[in-house]
Symmetry: C2
Subunit: 332 residues, 2 copies
Amino acid sequence: MTAKRYDVLALGNAIVDVIATAEEDFLATHGLVKGSMALIDEARAEALYAAMGPGKVVSGGSAANTIAGLASFGGRGAFIGKVRDDELGRLYRHDLTALGVGFDTPAASEGPATARCFVIVTPDGERTMSTYLGACQNLTPADVDEATVAAADIVYLEGYLWDPPAAKDAFRKASELAHRAGGRVALSLSDSFCVDRYRDEFTGLIRNRTVDLVFANEHELKSLYQTGDFDAAMQALRAENVLAVVTRSENGVLAVTPDGIVAEPVFPVERVVDATGAGDLFAAGFLHGLTSGREVRDCLRLGALAAAEIISHVGARPDVNLKTFAGNNGLL
Amino acid sequence: MTAKRYDVLALGNAIVDVIATAEEDFLATHGLVKGSMALIDEARAEALYAAMGPGKVVSGGSAANTIAGLASFGGRGAFIGKVRDDELGRLYRHDLTALGVGFDTPAASEGPATARCFVIVTPDGERTMSTYLGACQNLTPADVDEATVAAADIVYLEGYLWDPPAAKDAFRKASELAHRAGGRVALSLSDSFCVDRYRDEFTGLIRNRTVDLVFANEHELKSLYQTGDFDAAMQALRAENVLAVVTRSENGVLAVTPDGIVAEPVFPVERVVDATGAGDLFAAGFLHGLTSGREVRDCLRLGALAAAEIISHVGARPDVNLKTFAGNNGLL
């Protein structure tokens, strides 16, 4: 549908996930807040890893998971993010380019190692994340290639980019370049604690039209508007006059459009094995629908389908081809 | 039951698995023989990895998988194997020691990288492996610590140790030391192609009593005795007068004992997701039963249970605590 080279360019923290299962009491023992993402330094990363059980190592990073999902749907994606030129950095690049995603950001040849996120999955399938940002701290506006941004229909940015010092400047540069080239800009609010850290900046990005499309889950939305009441948060969101998509875990998904609210139920899953990546993959399906010219309701359905696939197994990258999976479920 | 410090000491190739799914035609395109393990050099490893889809990285290695399974059952295990002092080598050590497995073999500070096995899982759940031995080639008899061997009730050795040049000497040294200390020695035949490479040496190990217990699957047994007829192979095996355990995929498991053959069915699984590690984990359950003084039939059942757990998910290390899993299934 789009005449541009890429349907979506994602800009985000390039992070390798180290996923281990643990009982509930592991969280309390190590001061982890269930369901959250906390930033940790290198010393804490070493200590936490030493305490963890055996891990599965898979490429992750919120926006990168989204672009991997988009590619699995058959969408044309690109990624900008910073790894180190180490073993995990090479694994990371392989995993994206093997899906056909354009990923040309040069690896750092010095400084901290490729970032890793220690994901603790409790028996209920919930994930608690501790992230050592490592090489992500070296993502700067210089890494935002103008031609790549101009070649994308939608530039998708994760709120987590506010954590490493120079990445928010990369974010702003990407948004400006995208708009100048006639593209659209999407923001994922990432995490309710992330929203809490950068609330004013995020509402600023929405109000000054740095972003055209917002992805949030219920917790993030409540955090953004500092209310415990979902309806109040939705009312505040509608007043922003921005296209927005809200996920509510098992309670379905919503799109806030100029024509009103569109709601869809979640896609059924047998058992939630690992919730990691649910929001990321929802965004993948929605963005694929949007960039292939589908109606909002179909975009929501594609998002719900991709989220269902990802929570039914360990890891935040699809285990199956999402285009085939969608076809088998009558969606593509 | 045993007075020794370790129930089982495993000696094997220390290999990180990189697991990816692919359609059947990927095997033909890349000259891979379905269900086999082939050795590849570094150049071929690079080429194969570049052609593969995104991978899940998990610690593997046949004997190491077995000792991880034993530890998950609550057994006391140790491991001897060679990694390089690189990122994957550190991941590897973490994943074993996090389970309580003793693993003191020093990492190589020079030479090839930590070994990796590229595992291609086809839609039927079958796995095809290509192994770059890397640092495993530096495992020597000097790595076989006498005190550790003497402290083990059973020393478990994988046939794959015949591939790297010096490891077979480490194998022989471990067997001698074990017998001298009153321990028993077990051999896994590893793979039918491995048996084909070292048939005479393997039968020699059985006939000269270097090993007291043999683990084989149906294909390996047929390869050992160069027959396509399972009954003929079993007859040849019985003539060896060695305790032996044979797995027959979905057709059940057998033990050849001085008192005759004991047979048990497989443990039911909903869907075979990834067959990697089925034999390794069968051995883990059997050895745990044996070292905790159970009857052969119960040892077979524990083996079948562990194999069923491992083939129901991606990766060759258990996703759940096997002691709990066995308890929930009325076995422990």
